[in-house]
Point group: C2
Chain length 258, copies 2
């Protein structure tokens, strides 16, 4: 019976094992099984000479390792691309992953956690996995535990408030298209772009066009070996896959960069 | 000497003591003093018959109580309004608070934490406090520790992903003006509005105008006694001060509400 099984998407934060919540740690420790995503099948970015997203592989696993004994840890292969859409290939990977989860439930596991970098409700694969599991076993309970996002960690580490007073905050993947990025940048708030990577040159060009290059803060490989946080380097054209670009609101008053 | 003193803005999450990060708990436990904001001087919302924001008072304190002994806890009075601007009155309150912090530093405190609900870089008073402290004691080191925001907790508790695939996410205070809310709502992403309160009727009207009322999720008094999470009630015109309105992106594919 799957009626009393719960699958919980646990946000494990940006990569620092100290940035998990107390609740996330408890759930990871109590779970019968903890699944972590691994990229089994990268859809190769053939159009770029940039580095492959190797650093992203095993990141959730590295983050939870001190909280979860190896015998309760299970790797789930996922297909990842940077186009953001729901491709047949990605959907097939979720379905395969869902079958692994369902087998564990059928074998008796009752509390199952899926560790996801950042927050399970912010650009996570967890929602897709959960729906695939539910399609196979509708009675499985699904829950999520929020986690600190890379955007928040970049703000903290760089001393750059994300939003103050009446400022809006827009978070978008570079895959959303340059027009959305340009519109948000022209507005009154802070703009954060994820997954710049292949699109870094066009994001840079837009920052330059709107006179915002000097304000921008870039986090490269946050939470990974080789992490770098600092201003945008105008001559840098190759970014790691996991990069976060933060362009703070124009601030006239007190507040702003600490 | 203040050169070796550190003031850390510690995000304590949306109100559940289990939603602090491991790092936040450690810093709160290690700090010489932990400051919590209290609203000493509310700028009264005379134009509305809605409830006063009493529930917000002491929220950070309630959240950290189990981690901080009373003899290390200090209350800092802040002035709060819902207009979001930097008024002379609010600036004076930060300066008063900064003087209290500076007195503690001058008396020998070296690690000082300021507990702030949510994240210290997301609509927090911490940035202003830190700048006021720096104005008086430029050598004081300032740092922040990120925390889970109310938006993330509402997403988790209601089973509503904030963003998937290529969707942008816009967070704004209702004080930012109806035009920004309407524009964001017309776009392809999720919109989250904080501090609806006095402006709830006009937000509702806009949701209705754009045919999004049925999609919206409202969190009332998240993390407080009397918390309620659910659909927007078209007939409800008085909201608690701490309310969060989540309007998910229109989703055609798999994903969406769990």
């Amino acid at each position: 019976m799957s009626a009393d099984a719960t699958l919980t998407g646990v946000g494990v934060g940006p990569g620092d094992p100290e940035l998990l919540t107390v609740k996330a740690v408890r759930l990871l420790r109590e779970a019968d099984l903890v699944f972590v995503p691994v990229m089994a099948d990268r859809i190769a970015p053939t159009a770029t000479a940039g580095p492959t997203p190797a650093g992203a592989d095993g990141r959730a696993e590295a983050t939870v390792r001190e909280y979860v004994a190896a015998d309760r840890l299970r790797r789930l292969p996922f297909a990842l691309d940077d186009r953001g859409g729901v491709t047949a290939r990605r959907a097939a990977a979720w379905d395969d992953a869902a079958r692994v989860v369902v087998e564990a439930i059928d074998a008796g596991a009752r509390s199952l956690a899926f560790a996801t970098i950042g927050d399970p409700n912010v650009y996570s694969t967890f929602g897709y996995l959960a729906q695939s599991v539910r399609a196979l076993r509708p009675a499985v309970r699904v829950a999520t535990v929020p986690g600190v996002t890379a955007m928040q960690e970049l703000a903290a580490r760089s001393g750059t408030p994300l939003c103050e007073g009446r400022e809006p905050l827009t978070l978008l993947p570079a895959t959303a298209g340059l027009a959305l990025f340009a519109d948000a940048l022209a507005g009154p708030g802070t703009v954060v772009a994820y997954k710049g990577w292949r699109r870094h040159p066009e994001l840079l060009a837009e920052l330059r066009r709107q006179g915002r290059l000097a304000d921008a803060v870039l986090g490269r490989s946050l939470g990974l070996p080789g992490e770098r946080i600092g201003p945008v380097d105008d001559t840098e054209h190759e970014l790691p896959y996991l990069s976060t670009l933060l362009v703070p609101a124009r601030r006239e008053h007190r507040g702003g960069k600490l």
